[in-house]
Amino acid sequence: MKTTTMEQTEKQRKKILVVEDDKTISMALAIRLRSYGYETTVAGDSVSGLETARKIRPDLVLLDISLPAGNGFVVAERIQMLIPTPTPMIFLTASTQPGLREKAKELGAAAFFQKPYDADDLRGAVQLALAGPPVIEERRVYQL
């Protein structure tokens, strides 16, 4: 895919790791993120997510929360232990279980999205997270 967006003009392409067990969603995310110019790698479960993180040292991790073999929070914690430099995390979930947002916040997540997410908002959150330390909370988005 041709990538001409401004994110790509950076000297080194930023690497994003997507850990998501639903193949169609991870595919959609990859299409989008690549179109923005990010180098995107996809993992379908916790174990391969961790392995990939160790291998590629991503600049940002997009995590689904309910994953086979351990949830997204566990993966986030392990990655934080694994990689010495702080890696911003963005959580995505279709779960409505209470307390997930709070847990994500506790872990210092850059953003938290309920599925279905808004592509533009996700892009904004990714840009911001890559630009500096994780500063944003969930953006106020009213999907009506």
Partner: protein, 449 residues
């Protein structure tokens, strides 16, 4: 108890009836006849007494049986309650699973539509754009439907909690007008806001209040014909001092009085005038009502067929900091659980304790404003708790919520009055009203009790 009383009564009667016979003089002997009469009377009385005794024994046995049956029934009730609670949890987790399983493919569908619309898979012509727009809109409707179902479940099970923060209602309304502007424009409806200019910030749950507003305005737009008008007004409530009132007025078809009464009921669907099938599952306004009530407010509708409708709600300006802190003391876990949910749903801050000792310990850490206690509890009972409260916390308001107190325990409790006595089972509304009435200095929540 009764049998003893009766027996001694009868003994007295017997003594009285025996006296008038005749005073027996010294040396005098009873005649055979007299002795016979007297013995007969005596044995009659003895027989009567025996009958009374056996009757009272029968009664006692029957009472014991009734008591045993009651205890058994209570145990069965407890069992079935536990069962229901378990079922409730199962239903909760079932809903979460269903919601998750519905949203995952929905996300995927919506995402791929967006990818196409954004031209990431090549350019599209106008018709293709339009059709994909319709598909995306359908995805959005489906999402709202799933969210409503989840919200209704949370409300039913008391699991919905508000995130109250001071905010600007004016900003919220402006955002909503921006978001729904295009929808109104499509039907050539004028969407208009009139917000009091110096409206103060007050605490509310931003997402939830937006949900209420969006629902009401969306409804208004849906039921207003082309070239109509929808007006959102907000300001200090004229009839509810200390509250903010929001009205959404439309020039739509209006609602018949019979419908207006039921419109906020769960699963109620307003029949359409054209005989078509109603849209939605009938949860939208129910959720609005519950959310407004959770904010300590109320919602209503005024309408006339053919002359549009006005949906209004009021929310008290002060309340998040005003959440009344209640301590609920009862040895029954089920009761504690039930009341915690009922009270928290109405915006109370609730601490519970299983007996007096625990209650007093908790009171030392966090001072509640009202204590609700059962009387008969193991270890430290309600009266002892009350005594300690009076000793350490003076006239802190106390509500005694009890089943059938015996006179002795009530007499002991009376020594530490004042308290409000409520009988179990007490309707939640009555309990809430009582709690609020005990805090007259804080009127914000009182308004709509």
């Amino acid at each position: 108890m009764n049998s003893t009383v009766k027996t001694s009564d009868q003994a007295n009667q017997m003594a009285e009836s025996a006296v008038p016979l005749r005073v027996v003089m010294p040396g005098e002997r009873f005649g055979e006849e007299q002795r016979r009469v007297l013995t007969g009377k005596l044995s009659n009385k003895v027989a009567e007494l025996e009958a009374a005794l056996s009757e009272s024994r029968d009664k006692e046995i029957r009472l014991r049986q009734t008591m045993e049956e009651t205890i058994k029934a209570e145990q069965a009730l407890e069992e079935s309650n536990k069962h229901l609670l378990r079922k409730n949890q199962e239903i909760q987790s079932f809903y979460h699973t269903v919601s998750h399983e519905l949203k995952t493919p929905l996300t995927s569908a919506r995402e791929f539509i967006s990818i196409l619309v954004d031209g990431l898979a090549g350019p599209l012509n106008k018709t293709q754009q339009e059709y994909l727009g319709i598909a995306r809109e359908s995805c959005n409707r489906l999402r709202i439907c799933i969210d409503d179902l989840m919200d209704a479940t949370r409300l039913e099970t008391g699991k919905l909690s508000l995130d109250m923060k001071p905010g600007s209602l004016a900003t919220l309304i402006r955002q909503l007008v921006v978001i729904l502007g295009p929808v109104a424009a499509r039907k050539q409806i004028i969407l208009h806001e009139e917000v009091q200019s110096d409206l103060p910030n007050f605490p509310f749950d931003e997402n939830r209040l937006m949900q209420v507003l969006a629902n009401l305005v969306n409804n208004a737009l849906k039921h207003t014909p082309e070239n109509g008008r929808v007006t959102i007004t907000a300001g200090e409530a004229p009839e509810h001092p200390g509250s903010i009132q929001v009205c959404i007025n439309d020039t739509g078809c209006g609602i018949a009085p019979a419908e207006a009464e039921r419109i906020f009921e769960r699963l109620y669907q307003v029949p359409l005038n054209d005989g078509g099938s109603p849209q939605g599952v009938g949860l939208g306004l129910y959720i609005c009502r519950e959310l407004v009530q959770s904010h300590g407010g109320k919602i209503w509708v005024e309408s006339e067929l053919g002359h549009g409708s006005t949906f209004s709600f009021v929310i008290p300006k002060e309340q998040a900091s005003e959440a009344i802190h209640v301590l609920f003391v009862d040895d029954e876990a089920r009761m504690r659980d039930l009341m915690r949910r009922a009270l928290e749903r109405q915006g109370f801050q609730v601490t519970t304790a299983e007996d007096g000792a625990v209650a007093l310990e908790k009171m030392r850490q966090e001072l509640p404003e009202v204590v609700i206690t059962d009387l008969e509890m193991p270890n430290t009972d309600g009266v002892e708790t009350l005594r300690q409260i009076r000793k350490n916390w003076g006239l802190l308001p106390v509500i005694i919520l009890t089943g059938f107190p015996d006179t002795e325990i009530m007499r002991r409790a009376m020594e530490f009055s004042p308290f409000t006595l409520l009988a179990k089972p007490c309707p939640t509304e009555q309990l809430i009203e009582t709690i609020r009435s005990l805090r007259p200095q804080k009127v914000a929540r009182n308004e709509f009790a």
